[in-house]
C-alpha cells in the first residue's frame, strides 16, 4: 500500500511516493531468486490459470525450490493462455505458454535452472536475452504494433496489475502530478487533448478535448466525469484489458479529465460480466485514495475527486451514454432524447462528460509526452494507436495495439490467417450495431473509420470477428437481429416493434419460409428504425442491411432457393443415416437429446420432426450420419 506524503508541492509528494516504489519495482524486475508469474486475467483464468498457479505452488512447496511466485497480465496472445513468465536474477524474462497444471514441474525446473530455458513451450523473451529464444516482439502476432513498442498497454506483462507501486515506478501518475504542480492549467490540458486529436474510442471518434470543453464551460461547479466501461459488443474486450491489466492508468486518465473539466465526482460504470475488472478497478480507486491521489486535496492541492465504481447488471443499451447515466441514478437504464447532451444535463441532472475507457486511458500519455509525440502514429483523420480484439475462425485469437490505418489484410496475417481448411467469408465489426462485410472488401479496408463508412459499415469499438466459409451469414444476421431486438429498451415503438419484425422475417427465412416481399419489408423496417431516438434503434438494421447488400446471393439462395449452402439454417437442412454398419451409430442414437434417431440396429433412421439439428450425432459418429441440404418440398402455389 502506498501512503500519502503529508508535505511538499504536488511533484515533491509524488516523487516521495515513487522513491519508495522504485526499489520495490526494481527488485521485481531483477529479483534475487527466479520468479514465476502466472498471467491472471479473464482469458487466462478461462484457460485454467488458477489450476496452473496452484500446481506450480504445490511443486515449489514439495521440492522446496528457491523460486518466488507472482502474477502479471497476458500480452494479448490469448491462444497461448495460460501464459507464464519466468524472470531470472539477471533480469531476463521468458514467456511460456500454454502452461497447464501438467507443465508445472517443467516450469519450476526451468526457473531453478535444472532444465534449460529453451523449452518448446518458450514463446519469447520480453526482457534480457536467452540463447535460442527469440524476442517476443519478433513474433508475427506483434508485426503491426508500433516499432517503438506499445504505448497504451506498455505495462501489460511488465507489472503486477494489482500492485500500485509498479504503476508508480513505471512513470504512472507523473502526468497527473506534473499537471497539478501548476505547469498546466485546465484549459492547457484540454488544448493539449485537442491538439492530439484524441478521438472517442467507443467508435464515434468525436474529439475528446472538444467534448471536455463542453463540460468545462458548462454552468455550475458540480461537474462529473463518467467512464463508460459497459463494453457490451460481443467480440470486443479491449476495455476489459485496460482495466484488468493497468487499472491505475484509467484512474489517472479520469483524474486528468476531472481536473481539465472542473469535476469533483466521477463514475466508472463497468458491465457485470467483468468481475475481475470490477475488483481491480475498485482496488485501484481505494489505493489511489489512500495515497492522496484521489479524494479531497489531491497531492496537497485544492483539487478534489471522488471516484466510484458502479457495477452494471446486464443491459446492452446502458452503453449508450444517456442510458448509462439513467442506470447510475437508480432507474431503468433507458436512453433518452438528446439534447440536452450530458454536458448540459448528465448524471443527477448535473453537467457530465461520458467517454470510453480507452479514451480516458489515453489522456495520461498525451499529457506526459505531448500532442506532437502522440500524433506520430495513426492517420490524418485518426491519430494515435488503438486496441483491437480479434476473434473468430483465425489461428491467433487475442488483442493488440496498432496504429490507426494499418491494412486489414496485415491484421489477418498477424493473426496467423484462417484456421486450416477455412477461407475468410465475412468480417464482422462494431458489434451488433456494426456491420458485416465480405472477404472481397479486405483489400479496401484499413483500421480506421473512413474505409468502413464508405461501405456503409462501422469499425466500432475495437472488436473484429473473422468468419470462415463454414458460417452462414444469414444465420449470423439472425443472431444479431435477435440481440438488438432483445436489448431494445422499449421506449421507441420504431425500435422495439421494428426489431421484432426484422427478427421475425430473418427467422422465417432461415426456417425455409422466405417470401418474395421480405426484401421490400426489411427495407421498410430499416427506414422506420431511423426514426428511433437513440443509436440503438438507428443502427439496429445495419447488419441486416449489409447482409442483403453484400451477401445478396446467399440471401436469395435462402429466400427463394430455400437452400443454406453452409448447412447451418435449421429449416433448410436435415440429418440422415448413411452407414447402418458404423459401430458409432449406436452411440449417436444414445447421445441424441430428442431421441430422433429411431429404429433397430441395421434399420436406423432420423425422425426429421424430432430432430433439432444440434449436431450431437455427427459429433460422435461423423461417418454414420450426414448433415445435408433438405430436399425441396413442392409448395402449394396459392400460398407462396
Amino acid at each position: 500500500m502506498v501512503s500519502a506524503n503529508p508535505t511538499g508541492s504536488p511533484l515533491e509528494r509524488y516523487e516521495a511516493m515513487t522513491a519508495a516504489a522504485a526499489p520495490v519495482y526494481a527488485a521485481w524486475r531483477t529479483p534475487e531468486r527466479p520468479r514465476i508469474d502466472v498471467a491472471i486475467d479473464t482469458s487466462s483464468l478461462a484457460n485454467g490459470a488458477r489450476a496452473t498457479r496452484d500446481a506450480i505452488t504445490a511443486v515449489v512447496a514439495q521440492t522446496n525450490a528457491a523460486v518466488d511466485l507472482g502474477q502479471n497480465h497476458g500480452y494479448g496472445m490469448q491462444w497461448l493462455q495460460p501464459l507464464v513468465t519466468v524472470t531470472f536474477p539477471d533480469g531476463a524474462s521468458v514467456v511460456y505458454g500454454p502452461i497447464t497444471a501438467a507443465e508445472a514441474t517443467t516450469i519450476v525446473d526451468i526457473a531453478t535452472g535444472r532444465v534449460p530455458a529453451t523449452s518448446t513451450l518458450a514463446v519469447g523473451t520480453i526482457a534480457g536475452e536467452r540463447a535460442g529464444i527469440p524476442s517476443l516482439r519478433e513474433h508475427p502476432f506483434f508485426a503491426l504494433e508500433p516499432a517503438t513498442g506499445r504505448r497504451l498497454i506498455h505495462r501489460l506483462g511488465f507489472t503486477d496489475p494489482e500492485n500500485m507501486q509498479h504503476y508508480l515506478a513505471t512513470g504512472g501518475y507523473h502526468a497527473a502530478a506534473r499537471m497539478l504542480d501548476r505547469h498546466q492549467s485546465p484549459a492547457q490540458v484540454r488544448q493539449e487533448l485537442i491538439d492530439s486529436a484524441l478521438g472517442g474510442r467507443g467508435g464515434g471518434n468525436f474529439p475528446a478535448g472538444t467534448k471536455w470543453n463542453f463540460l468545462a464551460t458548462a454552468p455550475g461547479d458540480e461537474h462529473y466525469v463518467i467512464c463508460n466501461a459497459d463494453e457490451g459488443d460481443p467480440g470486443a474486450w479491449v476495455n476489459r484489458v485496460i482495466m484488468e491489466g493497468d487499472p491505475h492508468l484509467l484512474v489517472e486518465g479520469l483524474l486528468i479529465a476531472a481536473y481539465a473539466t472542473g469535476s469533483r465526482g466521477g463514475f466508472i460504470y463497468i458491465r457485470d460480466e467483468y468481475p475481475l475488472a470490477i475488483a481491480r478497478m475498485e482496488q485501484a480507486v481505494r489505493e489511489a485514495e489512500a495515497a492522496g491521489l484521489l479524494g479531497d486535496g489531491i497531492l496537497g492541492t485544492g483539487v478534489n475527486l471522488e471516484l466510484r465504481v458502479i457495477r452494471g447488471a446486464g443491459a446492452y443499451v446502458c452503453g449508450e451514454e444517456t442510458g448509462l447515466i439513467s442506470s447510475i441514478q437508480d432507474s431503468r437504464g433507458m436512453p433518452r432524447v438528446k439534447p440536452p447532451f450530458p454536458a448540459g444535463s448528465g448524471v443527477f441532472f448535473k453537467p457530465s462528460n461520458v467517454n470510453n475507457v480507452e479514451t480516458y486511458a489515453n489522456a495520461p500519455m498525451v499529457i506526459e509526452h505531448g500532442a506532437q509525440w502522440y500524433i506520430e502514429y495513426g492517420t490524418e483523420r485518426m491519430r494515435g494507436t488503438r486496441l483491437f480484439s480479434f476473434s473468430g475462425d483465425i489461428q491467433r485469437v487475442g488483442f493488440m495495439e496498432v496504429p490507426f490505418g494499418v491494412p486489414l489484410a496485415g491484421v489477418i496475417d498477424a493473426c496467423g490467417g484462417m484456421l486450416p481448411g477455412q477461407q475468410l467469408k465475412a468480417i464482422q465489426s462494431g458489434g451488433p450495431l456494426g456491420s458485416m462485410l465480405p472477404a472481397r472488401e479486405v483489400p479496401n479496408l484499413s483500421m480506421e473509420n473512413a474505409p468502413f463508412s464508405a461501405l456503409d459499415a462501422l469499425m466500432g469499438g475495437g472488436g473484429i470477428v473473422f468468419l470462415g466459409d463454414q458460417v452462414c451469414t444469414i444465420h449470423m444476421a439472425e443472431m444479431f437481429a435477435q440481440f438488438v431486438e432483445e436489448e431494445s429498451c422499449g421506449r421507441c415503438t420504431t425500435c422495439h416493434g421494428g426489431n421484432q419484425r426484422q427478427t421475425e422475417i430473418i427467422r422465417r427465412t432461415i426456417a425455409g419460409d422466405g417470401r418474395r416481399e421480405d426484401r421490400h419489408n426489411l427495407a421498410l423496417v430499416d427506414r422506420t428504425l431511423q426514426f428511433s431516438n437513440c443509436v440503438h434503434g438507428q443502427f439496429s438494421p445495419k447488419i441486416v442491411r449489409n447482409t442483403l447488400r453484400f451477401f445478396s446471393d446467399e440471401y436469395e439462395r435462402h429466400s427463394s432457393g430455400r437452400t443454406c449452402d453452409a448447412l447451418e439454417c435449421e429449416g433448410l437442412i436435415q440429418f440422415r443415416v448413411t452407414n447402418q454398419r458404423d459401430p458409432q451409430l449406436a452411440e449417436a442414437q444414445a447421445i441424441c437429446p430428442t431421441a430422433a434417431i429411431v429404429g433397430a440396429p441395421g434399420n436406423r433412421s432420423v425422425n426429421d420432426a424430432l430432430c433439432i439439428r444440434c449436431g450431437a450425432c455427427t459429433d460422435v459418429a461423423p461417418n454414420a450420419l450426414v448433415r445435408e441440404a433438405k430436399p425441396a418440398t413442392p409448395r402449394i402455389l396459392a400460398l407462396s
Partner: protein, 177 residues
C-alpha cells in the same frame, strides 16, 4: 411501515451504508442477490425504504436488467455464451442440445431446481469458442468450459441433471462420455 421481521433486519443490515439519491440502487440489488441468490419482494421493499424509493420503482429498475432474478436460482446454472465467435462454431446447436436435454426453455430451470440454463454475453475469451460457463450457487464458482461440441454439451447437461456436481462435470471424464 411493515413489521420489522428478522429477515427484513438482515436485509437492512446488508445495505445499511447505502443512501438515497446517491446512485446506490444497483449496488444494493447486487448485494442482496449475492447473498440470497435472487431478489424477493420483501428485499425490494427493504431496498426501497433504505433508498427512499417505492418498491415499484425498485422492481421497475431491477426488472430492466438481465442479471437480476426474482425467483430462487438453480443450484447450478449453465451460462451459454451467445457471442459471434461461439455461434460461428455451432453455438446454436449446443444451446438447442442442452435445452432439449434439460427440457427447459432458455433462462429456465429443471423442476427440482438442480440445473438452470441462462443466456450469457461474450466476455472475450473467444479462443475457447464455443463455450459455456458453469456457475455453482453454493460455492460462487464460475468455470469456463470451452472448445465444446454438441455431444459434449449433451453429456454435460445430462450429468448435471442426474445429480453430478459442478466439480465432477468439470473433470474431463464427463465430457469424454
Amino acid at each position: 411501515m411493515p413489521l420489522e421481521t428478522e429477515s427484513r433486519a438482515q436485509i437492512r443490515a446488508l445495505i445499511a451504508d447505502l443512501r438515497p439519491d446517491h446512485g446506490d440502487l444497483l449496488a444494493a440489488l447486487h448485494r442482496v442477490q449475492h447473498e440470497y441468490g435472487f431478489l424477493s419482494r420483501e428485499a425490494m421493499e427493504v431496498v426501497g425504504e433504505q433508498l427512499h424509493l417505492f418498491a415499484a420503482q425498485v422492481f421497475g429498475a431491477a426488472s430492466y436488467y438481465e442479471e437480476f432474478r426474482f425467483d430462487p436460482p438453480a443450484a447450478v446454472d449453465i451460462r451459454w455464451c451467445s457471442g459471434p465467435a461461439c455461434r460461428a462454431r455451432n453455438g446454436g446447436g449446443i444451446r438447442d442440445a442442452m435445452l432439449a436435454t434439460l427440457a427447459v426453455p432458455m433462462d429456465g430451470q429443471t423442476a427440482d431446481g438442480r440445473v438452470g440454463i441462462r443466456l450469457g454475453q461474450c466476455i472475450g475469451t473467444c479462443e475457447l469458442a464455443p463455450q459455456i460457463w458453469i456457475e455453482e450457487r453454493a460455492t460462487h464458482t464460475n468455470e469456463v468450459v470451452g472448445n465444446l461440441n454438441a455431444a459434449q454439451a449433451v453429456r454435460l447437461a445430462r450429468a448435471l441433471r442426474d445429480g453430478a456436481t459442478a466439480r465432477e462435470v468439470l473433470g474431463q471424464d464427463v465430457l469424454r462420455g
